[in-house]
């Protein structure tokens, strides 16, 4: 499945609306069978600008990975050398990505830092440049160039459908204890 890649503001608004409808609404997947996980897969982002960074792209992957992505800020890529945007928010169904994936895995590096963000469990990785939190039936992943920016973006997360405002408590994970467990996709 080829993802929509959007970099123009007016097209982005249309795609965000379409993505929201597709992910919140009833979506057929896997041979036309409705996906229970995707039916309750709301989108979160940080609005059209966060921490001084404009929203520059909205991405959707639906192949070996299943997530929607909001890219904030730009960078300059070259021949044979991509570049890391200053910030990105990825929204995954919790059935495909959740904090339980890290249970029992040998860290082979610095262990993740367990914190609470807006009332839900979260893990900080990579010196704070990656945060993963579980809310409802999804996992939000924030990438940023500094720990402080990562946490500011997490504080700015909002539901695209308007049900959760920035800074407000996030819905509790619906996988029971918040860590581990499994949800069928």
């Amino acid at each position: 499945m080829v993802a929509p890649l959007v970099t123009r503001p007016w097209v982005m608004a249309v795609v965000m609306l379409a993505l929201g409808l597709a992910l919140v609404g009833s979506v057929s997947a896997g041979g036309g069978q409705p996906s229970a996980a995707l039916q309750s897969f709301p989108l979160y982002n940080a609005g059209e600008r966060v921490d001084g960074l404009p929203l520059v792209a909205v991405l959707r992957r639906e192949d070996t990975a299943d997530f929607a992505s909001f890219v904030y800020g730009d960078c300059v890529a070259g021949d044979d050398a991509g570049c890391a945007p200053p910030a990105e928010i990825q929204i995954w169904p919790a059935c495909g990505r959740n904090l339980g994936l890290y249970d029992g895995v040998q860290p082979a590096g610095a262990p993740a830092e367990q914190i609470m963000v807006r009332g839900v469990p979260a893990l900080l990785f990579d010196d704070g440049t990656r945060l993963e939190l579980e809310t409802g039936r999804l996992t939000a992943v924030v990438f940023a160039d500094t720990r402080a920016r990562t946490l500011r973006i997490a504080a700015a997360l909002r539901a695209v459908d308007g049900t959760v405002s920035p800074g407000r408590p996030l819905p509790q994970p619906t996988r029971g204890e918040g860590r581990g467990g499994a949800v069928d996709c």
Binding site: V2, G82, A84
Partner: protein, 201 residues
Amino acid sequence: MLRFALVVLVASAGALAGTPALAHFDAADRYTHKACPASATNRIDPINVVFTTWGTWARAGSQVESHTGWTAASGSVQSFTDHGGCGAIHTQRASGHGSRFHVRLRGQHADAALGWTAMAAAHHEDLVLFSVPCGHAVDANGPGGSGFDQARDELVRQLTSAGHSSYRVWWGNTQSFKQCDGDYAASDGWAAFIQLHQVSH
């Protein structure tokens, strides 16, 4: 004298117990970097393959070349980090010079459980000439995943068909990277661990 010997023995044991801190596989940083020092802002590619057992960088290069036919060695230099240090790749292999599979490798010292290890950043990239000539750009996505996922899976496919064993580990390094053609590419977050044997090809 006996007490002194005991103190020396305990101190030696303590020192030995602490030694593995420098003798383990370190995957704390799961991206390559444009240069050293490494930072979050100069990340370029996700690391998505680890060669183990006899995974010295020279064996990894040799066995990748032998089993995949990726004999080209052209490509820019990138850097890896481990154990608090940062260094340039040791070698790279590619399936050609146009649109191609491409993997960069850097070795680490031996790990007690994994043996010799080398980390690798593999991808499939297109040579973009139109509409704006920009060079190599990693595929954004497709039925087989992004260019990062396609190359990792191709390495697994080719080496396992030649008798090497492999397994996957969730790393979560799914950050998207802008490419020179304006697309974004990301790993699906899984790293392949592929066993190598002692004999080079």
